[in-house]
């Protein structure tokens, strides 16, 4: 196929681009200690939380934005960003879906997320984050009967201060990195999940994020804790409306798994990637880290990343407990002018720890994608094992794929395996499918979905279907 045809194929428009007209109670742009006090007050937080935020802010001021990633973007002016935006009447939150602003529900409809249907049909509890305040939480009762806490992080700070004090910032410290420190200072919402000892969460927990108000950075903070023998599967899915200015997103996700606990965290991310010239997309600087604190604990990250103009994201596992397991399954798709520097870190500390990494990168258009992964085996990690598989697929000849694997091995009994491939979407494969009567678009879609299969099969069923659909939309033209 000729290059021009390829280029034409990879062009497609963002399908979720529309803006919901809901009045926002928004702070003017700017960041100082008053901004943080305002946020803390708006959230009705106790004094210790404000102190925690201010401490993070003061550390952030001394830090420098990292520049090691294989990314190219203009400097971010942190004073031009508004740090708080909430739908009006925050005290008067809807108690049921009937009370939710119909325009918001309409927004979800457009996204193909009919909240009530979805919740009722799939038995999924939904904590929908719209701008910065949770507006609808369902199935809370079923969960509370099981002893599971699933609420917004703001509620958790007020209602479960002891749990928050015990776990917040213990996986991703306030000063862990520039973006994590910023998040610690100004986070506005996010989810808190606590599954007590021996409880298997009766349903999958799902949160739909949506960045909406213009110029409002989103600083989500998520904390998930599973006590001994507890299990939970958490689903995070995101879309955003079309925007002209870059929107900064710096989330922090912390996960703690105690003895024999299992946490599965799945993400489908579809934020606005910018137009053909890369204008207007989301900047996504995320710190996600799981702590396998207990013996035989297991944390599994599965992500399908299709959106954002800039992605900086390394969901990681600290394997501290003996025989604990960390997993990372990832599909990252970049098109247009998107740039992604993503991967994982598996830090083997305990004996007999194991980790699996399967990373699939698909680059199209003029996009650039890097896999960056660290496998670190500490001196006490006797018999630790890692297996890494890292595959890149290129569509057209104007995109880039890079791999930066790091291995630090300090224990001679460890086994570390790394396999990597880079391939161009085979013209032979396309010709083969087309010569059976299948259109080029369908053929590309089929081949790409096949390439991603190892990862898709790790997703919960409903997400897998969504992920395939999303992949097709993202590479519409290019990848069906």
């Amino acid at each position: 196929m000729a290059t021009e045809e390829m280029e034409q194929l990879v062009r497609r428009e963002y399908k979720e681009g529309f803006v919901t007209d809901i009045e926002s109670d928004t702070l003017p742009p700017g960041l100082d200690e008053n901004t943080i006090a305002f946020i803390s007050q708006k959230k009705g937080e106790p004094e210790w939380m404000l102190e925690w935020r201010l401490d993070a802010y003061r550390q952030w001021l001394k830090m420098k934005e990292p520049s090691w990633a294989h990314l190219n973007y203009p400097p971010i002016d942190y004073q031009s960003i508004s740090y708080f935006s909430a739908p009006k009447r925050p005290e008067d939150r809807p108690q049921s879906l009937d009370e939710v602003d119909p325009k918001l529900l309409e927004t979800y409809e457009k996204l193909g997320i009919p909240l009530h249907e979805r919740a009722a049909l799939a038995g999924v509890a939904v904590d929908a984050v719209f701008d910065s305040v949770s507006v609808a939480t369902t199935f809370k009762e079923t969960l509370s009967e099981a002893g599971v806490i699933f609420c917004s992080i703001s509620e958790a700070v007020r209602d479960y201060p002891e749990l928050i004090k015990e776990y917040l910032g213990t996986v991703v410290p306030k000063n862990d990195n520039y973006f994590a420190a910023l998040n610690s200072a100004v986070f506005t919402d996010g989810s808190f999940v606590f599954v007590p000892k021996g409880v298997k969460c009766p349903m999958e927990l799902s949160t739909y994020f949506r960045i909406n108000a213009a110029n409002t950075g989103q600083f989500e903070r998520t904390l998930i804790v599973c006590e001994s023998g507890a299990e939970v599967s958490y689903l995070e899915g995101c879309t955003a409306p079309m925007r002209d200015e870059n929107q900064l997103h710096a989330a922090v996700v912390e996960i703690v798994a105690l003895d024999d606990a299992y946490i599965k965290y799945s993400t489908v991310q579809n934020w606005y990637p910018g137009d053909e010239d890369g204008k207007g997309g989301i900047y996504n600087f995320v710190t996600k880290r799981g702590d396998c604190r207990g013996d035989r604990s297991r944390i599994s990250w599965t992500q399908v990343e299709t959106g954002s103009a800039i992605t900086w994201k390394y969901p990681s596992c600290m394997l501290r407990g003996k025989d604990s397991i960390g997993e990372f399954y990832s599909v990252a798709v970049t098109n247009g002018r998107q740039q992604a520097d993503t991967g994982t870190k598996m830090i083997h500390i305990g004996e007999g720890t194991r980790s699996y990494i399967v990373a699939k990168g698909i680059s199209a258009g003029k996009s650039d994608q890097s896999y960056r992964g660290l496998v670190k085996i500490g001196p006490r990690a006797k018999g630790a094992r890692n297996f890494t598989q890292c595959d890149s697929l290129l569509i057209g000849d104007t995109c880039g794929a890079h791999t930066f694997p790091y291995q630090e091995i300090n224990n001679s009994t460890a086994t570390v395996e790394h396999e990597a491939t880079t391939s161009k979407i085979g013209e032979d494969q396309l010709f083969y499918c087309q010569s059976r009567g299948i259109t080029e678009e369908d053929a590309v879609s089929m081949i790409v979905n096949g390439f991603c299969k190892d990862v898709f099969q790790e997703l919960p069923m409903e997400f897998a279907v969504e992920a395939e659909a999303l992949l097709n939309v993202t590479l519409e033209g290019a990848v069906g």
């Binding site: 083969y432 499918c433 059976r436 259109t439 080029e440 089929m446």
Partner: protein
């Protein structure tokens, strides 16, 4: 059915076909033979629409339609099928998925509805049995890790499911042991009827013991230098291509 007239084809500036003409009627089986590099595979690739082949002169029509004006998938939808010498692997895509997608694409293009799942399963099972293939084939990724023989059987399986009007089979016998060759030949012969035609591209006469052609063409240096019936293949087997080239010269 298929008319190729004075076809000139260049690949990266080199002229491979230099005025080839060929006419295939419904109900006929043609064998195209010739030495390495004569342009045998080029002909079927050009008819199927593979990229990188430039037609500088001549025409190809299929049932009166200008093939060179059609997209690759349109040619397949019109009833042309290329059986590959080296079918490509498509990791992660199940055989059954490709078969179903291909069959439905062709049905929809013909204005028919998609095949109902039970009917499809029945069809597939029959053809699998006929090709002596294990049902586990369907769940394996397309051609991935297949032996040479398995790949060839799979090509024939696709042909039997898609029921093309004209099947062009490129070196379908290469790498087959005698048992596998019989199975493949049975598959090809089962497609023979008054409505369809087959073009076999092959090096060796032995395939033609199992699939007896109506016509045999000898392709040397981009042109058909001799045509005849099945006897011609035997003659080739005895005297080699050089003998033909001399007698044609």
């Amino acid at each position: 059915m298929l008319e190729v007239k004075d076809l000139h084809v260049t690949v990266e500036g080199n002229e491979i076909l230099k005025g080839l003409s060929l006419s295939i009627k419904a109900g006929e089986v043609h064998a195209l033979m010739g030495p390495n590099g004569a342009g045998k595979s080029t002909l079927s690739a050009v008819i199927a629409g593979k990229d990188g082949y430039e037609v500088t002169q001549g025409s190809i029509t299929f049932e009166g339609k200008d093939v060179l004006e059609m997209e690759i998938e349109e040619r397949a939808q019109a009833g042309l099928l290329l059986g590959f010498q080296y079918p490509v692997e498509i990791p992660g895509v199940k055989n059954i998925y490709l078969l179903k997608a291909a069959l439905n694409a062709q049905r929809v293009a013909r204005g028919e509805s998609e095949i109902p799942a039970p009917e499809f399963m029945k069809l597939i099972k029959e053809q699998l049995n006929f090709m002596k293939m294990d049902p586990s084939f369907l769940q394996r990724a397309v051609n991935e890790g297949f032996s040479g023989g398995e790949k060839k059987r799979n090509e024939i399986l696709q042909m039997l499911v898609l029921q093309p009007k004209l099947a062009m089979l490129d070196e379908i016998d290469s790498g087959l042991d005698i048992d596998a060759m019989k199975v493949v030949a049975d598959g090809v012969n089962s497609l023979r009827d008054q409505e369809r035609a087959i073009l076999l591209v092959t090096h060796y006469q032995r395939l033609l013991d199992y699939i007896v052609p109506d016509k045999v063409h000898v392709l040397v240096d981009g042109r058909i230098v001799k045509s005849g019936d099945a006897e011609l293949a035997k003659e080739l087997e005895a005297n080699g291509y050089e003998g033909i080239e001399e007698s044609a010269a």
